[in-house]
């Protein structure tokens, strides 16, 4: 029994990593109506800023704050300088532009810091505690706590604030929103800035476990996209629940199904995701998209 719980808990701490990036994907989707592949690149770039600061002796917490501010400015700048040219055009073109940004940002990180992974100091003490026979690292507990706070904050932002309402309106129909006097360009810029700032938090949370490198989030991004889509794409709570689900299912499959083992376990949650989406196309927590003409 305690082995089972241990496997579940380990799965949850993996899930927390996916959830961190999934939340950023949900945020940018809610704010701009796009799936933004540059998300991972912005997160890694901001995390490298934090890394560079810790190397010269800046405490991790302060480095995180600087990285968040840097992330916000980076996101806003990319929106203003690059993405604005694609607004009002075909969304597919804009998505391809975000992929280009991902490649450029990863390339820049590699240019300055190389491809090899570097250790990254943790925000939380590197200790493990034992609760009822199960070992949990303080880092996982800390990561999950921060994520839950971010999740609630995002939920409140979109549900209960005027800024959140305006961002959702712009993501839904920018032209029509402008007719009600919404400053569309500025709102998109803030949306990108917030997404990149959140990416910085996610990056700093997961870097100690993954080691920092330009490709650090490449495989996480796949899990995170799956989590965001399974959660319904527009639901912060859905993204976190789905990420936890994927992390746990993956770990359970690896631990209990002998023929699957460590190599194939990645496939199991994705098969589960496909099955769920066939039954419930709007995802676990998504609002059903209804269109009547």
């Amino acid at each position: 029994m305690s082995y089972f719980i241990q496997v579940v808990v380990d799965g949850l701490s993996n899930g927390a990593i996916y959830a961190a990036i999934a939340l950023a994907i949900v945020l940018v989707y809610r704010a701009t109506g796009l799936i933004n592949f540059a998300q991972g690149g912005m997160a890694v770039t901001a995390t490298f800023v934090a890394y560079a600061l810790t190397r010269v002796g800046v405490p991790v917490l302060l480095a995180l704050v600087v990285a968040v501010v840097f992330g916000f400015l980076l996101g806003a700048l990319l929106e203003r300088g690059v993405m604005r040219h694609f607004e009002g055009g075909d969304p597919d073109t804009a998505v391809v532009a975000t992929i280009a940004l991902l490649v450029v940002l990863s390339g820049l990180s590699a240019y300055f810091f190389g491809y090899e992974p570097h250790p990254f100091p943790s925000l939380f003490p590197n200790r493990t505690i034992e609760v009822l026979g199960v070992f949990v690292s303080l880092r996982s507990i800390g990561t999950i706590t921060v994520l839950l706070v971010v999740m609630i904050a995002l939920q409140l932002l979109f549900r209960s604030t005027k800024l959140g309402l305006a961002m959702r309106a712009v993501a839904d129909n920018p032209r029509s929103s402008a007719l009600s006097g919404l400053p569309v360009s500025r709102l998109l810029m803030i949306g990108w800035g917030l997404a990149a700032a959140l990416g910085a938090i996610a990056g700093v949370l997961v870097a100690p476990q993954l080691f920092i490198s330009p490709g650090m989030l490449d495989f996480v991004l796949v899990y995170a996209l799956a989590s965001a889509i399974l959660g319904g794409l527009d639901s912060p709570i859905g993204a976190v629940v789905a990420a936890a689900f994927i992390g746990v299912v993956e770990n359970l499959a690896g631990a209990y199904l002998d023929f699957i083992g460590d190599d194939l376990k990645i496939a199991v949650p994705f098969i589960a995701v496909i099955v769920i989406l066939v039954v419930r196309p709007q995802g676990l927590f998504g609002r059903k998209v209804t269109v009547r003409v």
Binding site: K162, A166, D172, S176, A178, L179, S180, G181, L182, R292
Partner: protein
């Protein structure tokens, strides 16, 4: 002084010029119609006013030239454009759509009162207030679009073919509410409509457009008395 005045306005999409020098004016608390066949330039004239198409000539609002300002700035000045196709924010609820309309306002209590007023004006929306706007029928979406424009507390509402695609009885209900809105809310209107009967239930006067030019202007009664207008727009 007129509230809104267009002087020799032209507009084009890329190289295609659609308006070739339109002039008309709207008085304070007035309502004027724009009639004409498909492609006459009615919709483009409204876009010119709200700043969503490139123009030349002068567009004076309260005596100030607003041409080239862009839609969020003209909205700020008090021009609410109900666009062709309604512009409903489909994934937002009915209530949220109305609140987006009130985005520029700070008077929270009055906003709540005005939401209630819109729901009273359009009882259909009352029952659907928490539904996604995309789930509404065409008529309900049109009502929502008009309600959202009102929520901005504008000086002028630009109304583009509010009857398009609606059953006659639904279109009539929408226009009855618009007539009531005009009477109670003291808002001026520019009404684009292919169905002149509906338009004449709201407007005091109208301009008839033909291929981007003003063909005719007259008061409601003058126009309704003209055989040519009756044949073309009033069904005989």
């Amino acid at each position: 002084m007129s509230l809104l005045e267009l002087e020799d306005v032209t507009a084009s999409y890329g190289h295609a010029q659609v308006l070739h020098g339109i002039s008309f004016s709207l008085s304070e608390n007035g309502a004027t119609g724009l009639l004409g066949a498909n492609g006459a330039g009615k919709t483009t004239t409204l876009r010119a006013i709200s700043g969503t198409v490139r123009t030349t000539g002068r567009i004076l609002f309260e005596g100030r030239d607003i041409s080239g300002l862009g839609p969020d700035r003209t909205a700020h000045l008090g021009i609410a454009h109900v666009p062709e196709g309604r512009g409903t924010l489909g994934q937002l609820s009915v209530r949220e759509n109305l609140l987006v309309g009130a985005y520029q306002r700070k008077d929270r209590k009055q906003i709540a009162t005005d939401v209630d007023y819109v729901l009273d004006l359009f009882p259909n929306l009352q029952e659907r207030v928490r539904s996604n706007a995309a789930a509404l029928s065409g008529g309900e979406q049109q009502m929502l679009a008009v309600g959202r424009a009102f929520m901005a507390k504008p000086r002028v509402i630009l109304l583009d073919e509010a009857s398009l695609g609606l059953a006659p009885s639904t279109a009539r209900r929408v226009y009855d509410a618009i007539v009531r809105l005009r009477r109670e809310a003291q808002v001026s209107m520019v009404v684009v409509e292919q169905n002149a009967n509906l338009a004449f239930s709201v407007v005091d006067d109208a301009t008839v457009l033909e291929t981007g030019r003003v063909a005719l202007h007259g008061s409601r009664d003058e126009l309704m008395g003209m055989d040519a207008v009756r044949r073309a727009y009033l069904g005989g």
